[in-house]
């Protein structure tokens, strides 16, 4: 009796499974549309039996309407039975969304698919009106196929990570097609992608590396100029860090995961996150986007030089270029770092504590560079002092109520000389550096002289007033006495 009792749950399970199988088989067998079309040997019916929806028990009529139980073609495909034939344009996606936007319905299939895909698609750049003016430029079946739809984690699915680049490329690699929508977008993105680290690994079957949807999104793709886009300039660091800062996710790859943290602290990161500066570089400005690759030792100055053009040019013509190449030093990065590039302060220059030059130069080793760095720092410090004196003199004149607007404007020229000095320092040429600082010194001398003249003018006005008041008062007294004199009663 005890043994029998143990068997009962197993029997029940077997009965349930068999029942489901039989019901499903019967149901499918009852799909007269499919059996008829299979007889015709057409492609949709061949694909449909592999379709995830077919396996879930849906029939042709679920999308095309009609009565799939009737073997009478006229009855099965009559309008009175709701037959709609082949849905076109937006009615395709609307048909999909009937189920896929219905949370309760999808729950029946234990689905974890989001039910807002259609809403997202309509809002996305792909949801805009197609050039034919009949509906959205992209429907669900454009990416997912129509009759042979597979789960996204099925390697045969067009939206499986390794297939996504090719799927997107169907349109994005077609120059004629893309010209109708956005001729500005290049159509060689897939080719570039295949040269990138991501693309190479993806083609080898690695599904963790970034493909199109990883960065651009899937249903919610926006133009890169749209602030909602994952690849909008200010959103890029966050998008890249989704994977690159995830230690667990990145454990298979031998690269650090602190780039985002470092970048946030850098001068570029602060410009992006604190000032919302769209001209500051984000990840793809140095690493590329579709052809994402870390810059090599020789290319760093070119990458940095795409913005800091003059600095890169000066560096390339400087004696450091050859020395760095020989020692395989990564050019700009050697002094400035990479992800955590801090503001290049004057303290980086020279031979004092904290100066970057001391890394390679000392009084005994590479002495020439040591002396040049020392002299450049001396000039820089002098210019800072001159700037400060000039500002102080202008402030004094302003405090006395003198008009110093022009001098204030000239003060910018000293600041400009200091900025130019920071650039010309990359030539590591003392004479060129001196030429720039001399401009600053001359301007500061002019400002100091003019500010002093303004202060002198202030005192001249005060003394001038004193003299004028004295003269006028003297005249007043004399006039007063004269009036007294002429009005004095004449003695008899």
């Amino acid at each position: 009796m005890g043994i029998k009792m143990n068997y009962i749950p197993k029997l029940r399970l077997i009965t349930i499974v068999l029942s489901i199988f039989i019901i499903q088989y019967t149901y499918a067998a009852d799909d007269q549309c499919l059996s008829c079309h299979q007889g015709l040997d057409d492609k949709p019916s061949k694909l449909f039996i592999e379709d995830v929806h077919y396996k879930a028990g849906l029939s042709c009529s679920s999308c095309h309407g009609g009565n799939s139980n009737s073997d009478d073609m006229d009855l099965a495909m009559s309008k009175s039975n709701g037959f709609i034939g082949v849905p076109v344009s937006n009615s395709i996606s609307e048909m999909c969304s009937k189920c896929h936007s219905d949370f309760d319905y999808m729950k029946k299939y234990n689905s974890n698919i989001h039910t807002n895909q259609f809403v997202k698609l309509k809002e996305s750049v792909h949801g805009k009106l197609a050039v034919n003016g009949k509906g959205m430029m992209l429907q669900c079946i454009t990416c997912h196929n129509a009759h042979g739809i597979k789960k996204a984690n099925d390697p045969k699915s067009p939206v499986y990570p390794t297939n996504v680049p090719q799927t997107c490329n169907k349109c994005h690699g077609n120059a004629t097609f893309m010209q109708s929508y956005n001729p500005a977008i290049s159509v060689d993105q897939l080719t570039k992608y295949r040269t990138s680290v991501h693309g190479v690994l993806n083609s080898k079957g690695n599904i963790k590396v970034a493909e199109c949807a990883s960065c651009h999104g899937s249903h919610d793709i926006f133009s890169a100029k749209d602030v909602r886009s994952k690849v909008y300039k200010l959103n890029i660091p966050g998008t890249c860090s989704n994977c690159h800062s995830d230690k667990n996710y990145m454990k298979d790859f031998d690269i650090p995961t602190d780039q985002f943290a470092k970048y946030q602290n850098s001068v570029h990161g602060k410009a992006v996150f604190e000032k919302q500066d769209l001209s500051a570089p984000v990840c793809n400005d140095c690493h590329g986007n579709h052809g994402a690759t870390p810059p090599g030792i020789e290319s760093i100055s070119k990458v940095c030089g795409s913005c800091h053009a003059l600095n890169a040019e000066l560096f390339s013509a400087s004696p450091h270029k050859k020395a760095f190449d020989e020692k395989k030093y990564p050019e700009c990065e050697t002094c400035h770092g990479n992800h955590e590039i801090l503001i290049a302060k004057d303290q980086l220059l020279g031979v004092d504590k904290g100066a970057i030059c001391l890394k390679c130069h000392s009084e005994n080793e590479n002495q020439k560079g040591y002396l040049i760095a020392k002299e450049m720092k001396k000039l820089t410090d002098s210019l800072i002092v001159s700037d400060s004196i000039a500002k102080n003199m202008v402030f004094q004149a302003e405090q006395k109520g003198m008009d110093v607007e022009e001098l204030k404007y000239k003060l910018r020229e000293i600041h400009q000389a200091r900025l130019e000095g920071r650039t010309i320092v990359h030539s590591f040429d003392e004479a060129k550096f001196k030429e720039v600082t001399t401009k600053g010194f001359k301007t500061s001398d002019t400002i100091i002289t003019e500010a002093k003249a303004a202060v002198d003018e202030f005192y001249f006005r005060r003394y001038g007033l004193g003299v004028a008041v004295a003269v006028i008062t003297f005249l007043i007294v004399m006039l007063f006495l004269y009036i007294k004199k002429i009005e004095k009663p004449k003695s008899l």
Partner: protein, 360 residues
């Protein structure tokens, strides 16, 4: 030296008969009494007007009356032209003191009832010159084309627009368009340096001729005093020398103010910028501005601002015509109502100006 001067005098005298003028002036006597001090404010006002003309002409040498260059030309005058800062500061301070002096002069004449027969024309020309002085101030204030001036003019011309019927066309005429622009600056410049000085000079000549022709008005309480008991002083040289003495004192004050508190220029007007906080007109318009601010949005069915403008307009007309409706004073009788109205007006102007200044 004395001989040389005498020769020059005789040379001129032979041609324009100066002796007749000197004879006329030396025969002219000014009454001396406890209120004689008020006589001097007419002369002080004249002195300020002369300073305005002289400094104004000097400023014209460098001023450029266009919205692109006005501000820069004044900055240039103040920073590059020798004593340019002084000339502008004196012009600015003298303008304010001129209006103050005109206020005092006008109220002293009012309280003394000196407008009564036969000096009605002197009063009318004087009141018109007072209004012109305010117009001088209003038009000159915009000329530096700075932020404060720009928005004050905007507010000021908006108030003009509140006048029923003629307000809008008048505002359009003043602005030279719908808004305060370079066109407004051009016409304000024209008003300030050509139209107003022309009219003012004509009225001033009439005013001075009338004063010389009719002499100084005597206070009413001296009417019954015997001629022998009345004190007088010769207009020339005694009164003129006293006038000159006061002018020198005023010049000293003006110099000190101009050096210690030089006129500021502020920021250049930017029509696209929002108005800075606490925009106010010049002090002499403040009592009117503050009154309009205190008035409710609607009084019965009339807009508060419209009512205020109409009331000020009516008060101005009554003020101008005081010699007409003050019949008692004309007959030599005491008219206390005139004193009460005068005291109310002075108190009203002072209190509202202080409130406007404090609530800035």
């Amino acid at each position: 030296m004395e001989k040389k001067l005498k020769q020059i005098y005789e040379w001129v005298d032979n041609r324009v008969q100066l002796a007749d003028l000197v004879k006329f002036m030396s025969k002219k006597y000014v009454p001396v009494h406890s209120r004689s001090i008020w006589y001097y404010f007419g002369g002080v006002s004249l002195f300020f007007f002369i300073i305005q003309v002289v400094t104004g002409i000097l400023l014209l040498f460098y001023y450029k009356g266009s919205s692109d260059l006005a501000y820069e030309s004044i900055r240039f005058t103040m920073s590059k032209v020798q004593f340019g800062w002084l000339i502008r500061s004196i012009h600015s301070w003298s303008a304010n003191l001129f209006i103050l002096s005109v206020f005092i002069h006008m109220f002293s004449v009012y309280f003394e009832k000196s407008y009564r027969n036969p000096r009605e024309m002197t009063w009318v020309t004087g009141v018109i010159m007072f209004v012109l002085s305010l117009a001088f101030g209003f038009s000159g204030y915009l000329l530096p084309w700075n932020e404060l001036a720009y928005f004050a003019t905007k507010v000021g011309t908006d108030i003009v627009g509140a006048v029923p019927v003629v307000g809008d066309p008048l505002k359009y005429f003043l602005r030279g368009g719908d808004d305060v622009t370079g066109a407004t600056l051009s016409r304000f410049f024209g008003f300030h340096v050509a139209l107003f000085p022309g009219i003012f000079t004509f009225l001033l000549i009439v005013h001075l001729l009338l004063v010389q022709r009719q002499g100084m008005s005597e206070p009413m309480h001296l009417k019954n005093t015997a001629k022998e008991e009345k004190k007088t002083m010769p207009f020339f040289p005694n009164f003129m020398l006293r006038d000159l003495l006061l002018w020198l004192v005023v010049l000293n004050i003006l110099a000190i103010l101009a050096v210690f508190f030089p006129a500021e220029l502020g920021l250049k007007a930017d029509p696209l910028a929002s108005a800075p906080a606490g925009i106010q007109p010049e002090w002499y318009f403040l009592f009117m501005f503050q009154t309009l601010k205190f008035l409710p949005a609607h009084v019965f069915f009339v807009e508060g601002e419209v009512l205020g403008v109409l009331l000020f307009g009516l008060a101005g007309v009554l003020w101008l015509l005081v010699p007409v409706w003050d019949r008692k004073s004309a007959k030599g009788q005491q008219n206390r109502l005139i004193n009460y109205i005068g005291i109310f007006s002075v108190m009203f102007i002072i209190i509202l100006t202080i409130i406007g200044w404090v609530l800035k």
